[in-house]
């Protein structure tokens, strides 16, 4: 039971790293709190549901498609919202409210379009039966989602540390004003990061029907909070930190479910509070933060 | 200046710092620093960048707790006391990077200090102070609208509003032109004449020359010299780490 919980926690945690990844990027680069993040995950999930039921497109193909589609949507959305926001007196705080509003808009429009009920994709759409891993049996969807999440983290890592745009992105993360003064087109770089952030959220969404059973338009808030737990535990700005945060979250959630199941809902909150109080900069703290 | 100095030498120290040490993580910012300041004395604290001057002031004013050594003020140990207590006891400072209350006006900035750290100052005092530091034309401006130089003056005014017995000034001179420097130097001397003890951190040697009675030179967290500037310029170690080749000025 213990081993099973731990391995399951690792797989589940890896998936949650993917859920938090985009949020982390957006917060790191723009210092804005995208409270609508979970809603973009939800939209990604519904996109995958739609692709599958209308055109029988596999969720993996849908993930690739929605990565680009959402990234492209992110661009105009960035220019519509963020530059104006950053001109205000307290953008960090106001972003919380602005994106809460956006989350409401997304949820209501989604409900108007698809209705409030649960939607999902049959399990067989993502590979066959159970998979044996480390002497335990898991749904294949878990393993596939975990692998997809690993790939996404790697790609983001490569982008940030081995491309020119990635280097500029990190520069903007470190100091927006200095970046402006150095002649970086801060808005374009940020818009790109924003788009990638949304794209990653959508990719996570494509696997949500398998990891969460089903999705409804109202699921966004929960996902946002879980994402925050993951990225804050791991520390902001670092994709590797997000993975660490995800793993810790996943394993402790599964252990909680096993031993104190009715209190499992408390876990993300307690984890978040504890980490913030003990190490406000997250577990990977400042030193490794920008490595 | 020498007559003043001799008077000071006989007074007992207001502040005594002994073997002060401070670590940040693995980095030892201060290894061992010792010095003392007497009432009416202006002590210069100089040294290369990163030698620990600001850290010293931060420790004396309660921003950090020391990891080792002792800080004594008026004969009692103050290491680790919170800043507001120290302000009440008569220790205050200005900041290297000015830190005014940006959403308050210049007057309100000073009023807060008078109300909470006042030690008996009043509204008349505020007016005098503003004139003293030439902030009187800016009284109703928001602090955020001031230039960094003006903000430094405001910092100083706010510190003075608490009527400190010991005032630490961190790089007041950076960004001032020589004429302005002279003006500020005169102000600091006036304060010293009134019996205040001053600890002045500064890189501009002309300014140091105008203001200080005595110098402490720090290098990598240690004090390597103590004495007047005229001696410091002859000290080989000080020249090597801090002043560079002799100055033609």
């Amino acid at each position: 039971m213990l081993e099973y919980s731990i391995v399951a926690g690792l797989l589940f945690g890896l998936y949650f790293s993917l859920v938090g990844l985009g949020l982390n990027l957006v917060f790191g680069v723009m210092r804005i709190v995208n409270l609508a993040h979970g809603d973009f995950v939800m939209l990604g999930a519904l996109a995958a549901v739609g692709c599958y039921s209308a055109y029988a497109i596999s969720p993996i193909a849908a993930a690739v498609l929605s990565l680009f589609a959402f990234a492209i949507v992110g661009f105009p959305l960035y220019y519509l919202l963020v530059p104006r926001l950053l001109r205000s007196s307290d953008p960090e705080m106001l972003s919380i409210i602005l994106f809460f509003g956006l989350s409401q808009v997304i949820e209501s429009l989604t409900t108007i379009v698809v209705g409030p009920s649960e939607r999902s994709i049959p399990g067989r759409a993502l590979g066959g039966g159970p998979v044996h891993l480390l002497g335990q049996t898991f749904p294949s969807a878990w393993v596939i989602s975990a692998v997809a999440s690993g790939i996404a983290v790697m790609l983001l890592f490569l982008y940030l540390y081995h491309t020119r745009a990635g280097r500029l992105t990190r520069a903007v993360m470190v100091d927006r004003n200095e970046a402006l003064a150095t002649g970086i087109d801060v808005d374009r770089i940020s818009a790109l990061a924003f788009g990638i952030g949304l794209g990653l959220a959508a990719v996570a969404g494509c696997f949500a029907p398998f990891m969460l059973g089903s999705v409804t338009p109202a699921i966004g808030v929960n996902l946002t909070i879980q994402s925050f737990t993951v990225i804050i535990v791991g520390s902001l700005g670092s994709p590797l930190g997000t993975v660490l945060g995800g793993l810790i979250y996943g394993v402790s959630l599964m252990l909680m479910q096993t031993y104190f199941s009715s209190w499992a809902g408390l876990l993300p909150y307690l984890l978040l509070i504890a980490i913030l109080l003990v190490r406000p900069s997250g577990l990977l703290g400042r030193k490794v933060r920008y490595v | 200046m020498s007559s003043e100095a001799s008077g000071i030498a006989t007074a007992s120290p207001l502040l005594t710092v002994k073997n002060l040490a401070k670590r940040f993580g693995a980095f030892q910012a201060l290894q061992s620093v010792s010095f003392n300041v007497r009432p009416g004395e202006v002590l210069g604290l100089v040294g290369p960048n990163g030698s620990g001057k600001t850290t010293c002031i931060n420790l004396i004013t309660g921003l950090y707790k020391p990891d080792g050594g002792a800080i004594q003020y008026q004969g009692r140990s103050i290491g680790g006391l919170p800043s507001h207590r120290l302000a009440h006891m008569g220790i205050n400072r200005s900041f290297q990077i000015p830190k005014p209350f940006k959403s308050l006006t210049v007057r309100e900035n000073i009023e807060v200090a008078v109300a909470y750290g006042g030690r008996g100052s009043d509204t008349a005092e505020i007016k005098r102070l503003l004139e003293f530091l030439e902030l009187d034309l800016l009284t109703d401006r928001l602090a955020s609208e001031l230039t960094s130089g003006q903000q430094k003056m405001l910092d100083l005014a706010r510190a003075l509003a608490t009527k400190p017995a010991l005032l630490c000034v961190d790089e007041l001179g950076a960004g001032l032109n020589p004429n302005e420097l002279t003006h500020v130097a005169q102000r600091l001397r006036e304060l010293a004449r009134s019996g205040m003890a001053l600890l002045v951190v500064e890189h501009l040697m002309d300014f140091v020359d105008q203001v200080t009675d005595r110098l402490i030179v720090l290098s990598v967290g240690k004090d390597i010299f103590s004495g007047p500037l005229s001696q410091a310029v002859q000290d080989a170690q000080v020249v090597e780490v801090f002043l560079g080749a002799p100055d033609e000025h």
Partner: protein, 238 residues
């Protein structure tokens, strides 16, 4: 004047409703070093930021190499060949090497490679610290990194706001020395400074008072003007 690299004229600018510049202007010729002086709050920072496009000008013109740049964003101005060294100077969270790469982001890869090696030769301190984070450098080293980062893009003109503020005498000398080398190899400099040592470097001087340009001329002319001499160097010289 045809040899003008940068010309700014009739600039009005400010913050919110508060005007800080009143028809200010200056010019920098190719390969020339210009020092901008002025009392506290005169508007030096504002003028420099306006030239860089970091503060929006309300009125006036700025041209660089004969082209009007007043409507360009900062990044376009930098791309055009004006580098700016802010008070912070560098990205504390990135390595020295990454800082330099970002400074040289617009250069072709091969050219950048050659250029960066040259920079490391000139600044041996940085060469030793390639992998160190900008934030781990001391104040003086950071300023040097700031200069190197600004130079990494091979600008025609380097604009600096108080490069010496807070530097120990030893480092002030080093910065002046390095800037001297680059001036000799043809770089134009515009420096807002209060430290009179920088006058040694200057070809011409502007003074700014209350947001307006006061004196404009050579260093010799400045020294010859007794009133100005008193205003700026005050009792010190007497």
């Amino acid at each position: 004047m045809s040899t003008d690299l940068l010309t700014a004229s009739g600039l009005d600018a400010g913050y919110g409703g508060v005007q800080a510049l009143w028809g200010a202007g200056l010019s920098v010729r190719a390969k020339e070093t210009v020092v901008l002086m002025g009392p506290n709050g005169a508007g030096k920072t504002t003028l420099i930021k306006t030239i860089m496009g970091l503060v929006q000008s309300w009125k006036g013109e700025i041209s660089f190499e004969g082209r009007n740049i007043v409507h360009d964003r900062t990044d376009k101005r930098v791309r055009a060949g004006i580098a700016y060294m802010s008070e912070i100077g560098c990205f504390p969270g990135l390595s020295v090497e990454d800082n330099l790469r970002i400074g040289g982001q617009f250069l072709p890869a091969a050219e950048f490679k050659r250029h960066i090696d040259d920079l490391y030769d000139r600044f041996p301190t940085l060469a030793q610290k390639r992998r160190a984070l900008g934030g781990s450098l001391s104040g003086g080293q950071r300023k040097i990194l700031g200069v190197a980062k600004a130079l990494a893009g091979k600008p025609r003109l380097l604009v600096m706001d108080e490069p010496s503020a807070g530097l120990s005498p030893l480092f002030v000398r080093e910065v002046i020395h390095v800037l001297g080398q680059f001036r000799d190899s043809g770089l134009a400099l515009l420096i807002a400074e209060q430290n009179i040592r920088f006058l040694d470097l200057a070809d011409r001087v502007y003074t700014l008072e209350g947001g307006r340009i006061g004196f404009e001329g050579t260093v010799q002319a400045l020294h010859a003007d007794a009133a100005l001499e008193r205003a700026y160097f005050g009792l010190k010289k007497t």
